[in-house]
């Protein structure tokens, strides 16, 4: 065993009302890829923020090498040799690659030299980057390269990666792990945060598991199954998803020849999208973000109207109808953006039910709001979907992401739709809540509804859907049965993703 690069000893951090970290001790050795595992809210983010100097621990000590380590801000952390790749990219869209990298370095070399070094280092690691390009023009995978190269140029001793693969295709993720292994071989210690268990099992040397802010276990992830790791994370057995008892029935929704121009300069045009959805069926639509997911949802929900004859529910043409007539007909949708699109942040949960359930649940009569009914419906959603909140009077913005997601999905599911379209139903939701949301979708399908799940989480799509198609630059591929599909073959279906050459090599 080589020497520890980083060591934390009994560090703790409290926020008002929450003990985010409590007596957390662990160590990362040189050349090791060390996983930090835990549900959302387990304290992973607070912990890495303390290591990166964004937050100061209340108690405990940290060592970097043999020296005591107490960074006052991220710049001090960088100077000590700690670098971090953020979950939500810390990039500046309008600036160039080189400018972004310079901002992440303490003492960047002059512009020309920096550009040359970016080109060289990025080629050495098989992550080619053009230093003069603006971030907005890059794909998610390329953006992450920028973050990684920014770290590599500083020759870090400890590299922290916060859920780096959540936006990547499987091939891009492979490329990332190849890079990490090269780095580890040079002696860099890597702290890897994720809740994707398979990924951690495949690539990490050691795992420290956090629950409610405490270290509950430490293990070699290769020696355990994903199920065992999940059990350690949530502190109990995970309930297995029940997919039984579904029968594909008659055709409910038919989409044909659906083409839409891009709604904005950054949007994607839909090109000749066609699909058929039967009763009791779940159709999964995968693809890297920005390939038309939001546009497809908007065209199905009625936010954007299309040419007549393109969207048919039970044979009835809804193409030119807005969202409300479509809801009345039974076509419901839950968009990706919970706060602002699916729910009004400053409205109470009861008021938020009115947004989509007004007509189907009879909450608006003769132009007047039935406040008692809205409250009762919100209470029913809260109860049936285990939404953790003080009550229907709470503002939507006061809920955590996972709880609001359960509420938003519950609001649609409990209206008994004929067809439900959801985009990223479990994005940023912890494992327990995600399982509940998925189960509710399966239960709905069992009752005879047709469901379209648009997601970037391929494991989720494989788990839920009967058929799968890929959305790529606004084009929808032909659906394939998910039986016998592997992650690899799906990755290739998503094709056209950037950086594939390296991944295949």
């Amino acid at each position: 065993m080589t020497a520890n690069v980083f060591r934390a000893e009994r560090i703790g951090k409290s926020y008002p009302g929450v003990r985010a970290n409590d007596e957390v001790s662990f160590a990362v050795a040189a050349g090791e890829i060390h996983a930090l595992l835990g549900e959302n809210g387990a304290g992973k983010s607070t912990l890495v923020k303390m290591i990166y100097g964004l937050v100061r621990p209340d108690d405990g000590r940290m060592w970097l090498g043999d020296a005591l380590y107490a960074p006052t801000d991220p710049r001090a952390a960088r100077q000590s040799g700690v670098a971090m790749v953020f979950q939500h990219f810390s990039l500046f869209d309008a600036l160039t690659v080189a400018e972004n990298i310079a901002l992440g370095m303490e003492n960047p070399p002059p512009r020309r030299e920096l550009a040359a070094r970016i080109t060289q280092v990025s080629h050495d690691f098989g992550l080619p980057l053009n230093p003069g390009r603006r971030i907005v023009t890059l794909s998610a995978g390329e953006r992450q390269r920028v973050e990684i190269i920014r770290c590599l140029l500083q020759n870090p001793r400890l590299l922290i990666m916060d859920e780096p693969t959540s936006v990547l295709t499987p091939q891009e993720a492979e490329l990332l792990f190849a890079t990490l292994r090269k780095l580890a071989a040079k002696g860099t210690a890597i702290l890897y945060i994720s809740h994707k268990l398979e990924e951690i099992r495949a690539h990490c040397d050691r795992a420290t598991i956090l629950r409610h802010g405490r270290v509950v276990d430490s293990c070699d992830p290769r020696a355990h199954s994903a199920r065992e790791l999940a059990a350690m994370m949530v502190g109990g057995e995970m309930r297995a998803i029940d997919r039984s008892g579904r029968q594909a029935g008659e055709v409910l929704l038919k989409v044909q020849g659906l083409s839409q121009p891009a709604p904005s300069a950054e949007g994607t045009a839909l090109k000749e999208v066609a699909l058929t959805l039967r009763a009791g069926e779940i159709l999964g639509i995968g693809g890297v973000a920005g390939n038309g997911q939001e546009e497809l949802l908007a065209a199905l929900s009625g936010e954007v109207r299309s040419t007549p004859g393109t969207v048919l529910l039970d044979g009835r043409d809804l193409s030119t109808e807005g969202p409300e007539p479509r809801r009345i007909a039974g076509l419901l949708a839950a968009p990706e953006d919970r706060l602002g699109h699916a729910a009004v942040p400053d409205f109470s949960l009861a008021e938020n039910t009115l947004l989509t359930a007004g007509a189907r649940k009879g909450l608006v009569r003769g132009g007047l709001i039935d406040h008692g009914g809205a409250r009762a419906y919100a209470e029913a959603v809260i109860r049936d979907f285990d939404v953790r909140t003080p009550g229907p009077g709470a503002a939507a913005r006061a809920l955590s992401g996972g709880n609001l997601q359960k509420f938003v999905i519950g609001r649609e599911v409990m209206q008994d739709p004929r067809v439900l379209v959801v985009n990223q139903p479990t994005w940023g939701v912890d494992a327990g809540a995600a399982a509940a949301v998925r189960q509710s979708l399966l239960d709905l399908a069992r009752k005879g509804a047709g469901i379209i799940v648009i997601s970037q989480d391929l494991d989720e799509l494989l788990e839920l859907s009967d058929r799968f198609c890929a959305l790529n630059e606004g084009r929808l591929s032909n659906p394939l049965s998910t039986k016998g599909l592997t992650l690899d073959s799906i990755g290739l279906m998503l094709g056209g993703a950037h950086g594939m050459e390296e991944a295949r090599a």
Binding site: F86, S90, F92, E99, A102, L103, T137, A265, E266
Partner: protein, 295 residues
């Protein structure tokens, strides 16, 4: 007949107040701050500069006082938006109203007196005009080539990311607002000390608003600000010449011309979609948004 060279020299002078104010606002907006108080800071600078120049007999002392006064009154905006996180649009409008009223009140004793003469600089062009021209490449270099300028742009583009990388969002913005105030102050003082040579209430006459429009028109670049200021200044001089030449066009239409021309060009540019993020011509990503660090 209209002599092009003399028109150009007048243009330089007519565009200088707007050039200063717009360069200052450009830096503030690049840091993500939308300060609609430019007009109020200009009029404050116009009065403070005039008063200091009159009292000391030294016009350059007047400009220094104007810069100081502009920066000081912008501190009001700093306190409102950076400390109390008030809405930037409302705070900016309040700053304009406050500045106009304040200057009107303290300006009473200076009505009817004359400013000290200003020594001419090289080529018989005012020193402050030269300074304004020099500020264009200086601001460009600062924003695009210097490290503090890069940090400032980072703060304006994505304040959360800048904070995560350990840069002081609030401190950067405070400095940018103060710079904007100082520049607006000098711009205002140029009107009272070097152009009109006396103090009258409301003498900036909307120049601050035009400066704000020009920052957008420039697509947030220093050379673009110069082009916008020259366009406005040029049409101003031209319409004055036309009026003097007794052209048979209603005076009201001619007086309107500089404002109309500026708006027209603004519309034409935006219609051609030059403001896309891909092209780098878009507004800073965090423009007008308040930053609150979650600790």
């Amino acid at each position: 007949m209209i002599d092009p060279l003399s028109v150009f020299l007048l243009l330089l002078s007519a565009s200088t107040p707007i050039l200063f104010a717009a360069l200052g606002e450009l830096v503030a907006e690049r840091a993500g701050v939308l300060n609609l108080g430019v007009e109020g800071m200009m009029i404050t600078g116009a009065l403070a500069g005039f008063a200091a120049a009159y009292a000391s007999g030294n016009p350059f002392l007047g400009f220094a006082a104007a810069a100081l006064a502009g920066a000081l009154i912008s501190f009001l905006f700093v306190v409102l938006t950076q400390v109390f996180l008030a809405n930037q649009v409302a705070s900016g409008l309040a700053l304009t109203l406050f500045g106009l009223g304040l200057a009107a009140m303290f300006g009473k004793p200076f009505e009817g007196v004359k400013a000290p003469p200003m020594p001419a600089g090289p080529l018989d062009i005012n020193w402050i005009v030269w300074l304004g021209l020099a500020m264009v490449p200086a601001v460009w270099w600062f924003l695009n080539r210097s490290r503090p300028g890069l940090i400032l742009r980072g703060v304006g583009e994505n304040h959360d990311a800048a904070h995560a990388l350990g840069y002081g969002v609030r401190a950067t913005r405070m400095a940018a607002i103060a710079f904007g105030g100082a520049m607006a102050g000098v711009g205002g003082a140029f009107i009272s000390i070097a152009t009109v040579l006396q103090w009258t209430e409301g003498m900036t006459a909307g120049a601050g608003w035009i400066a704000l429009a020009i920052v957008v028109f420039s697509r947030w670049t220093a050379p673009g600000v110069l082009a916008g200021a020259w366009l406005f200044g040029g049409v101003t001089v031209l319409q004055l010449r036309l009026q003097a030449a007794g052209v048979q066009v209603p005076v009201q239409l001619l007086s309107m011309a500089p404002y109309l021309a500026t708006i027209l060009v603004l519309v034409l540019i935006s219609a051609r979609q030059k403001f896309s993020r891909r092209g780098g011509g878009a507004a800073p990503g965090s423009l007008g948004l308040n930053f609150h660090a979650l600790r």
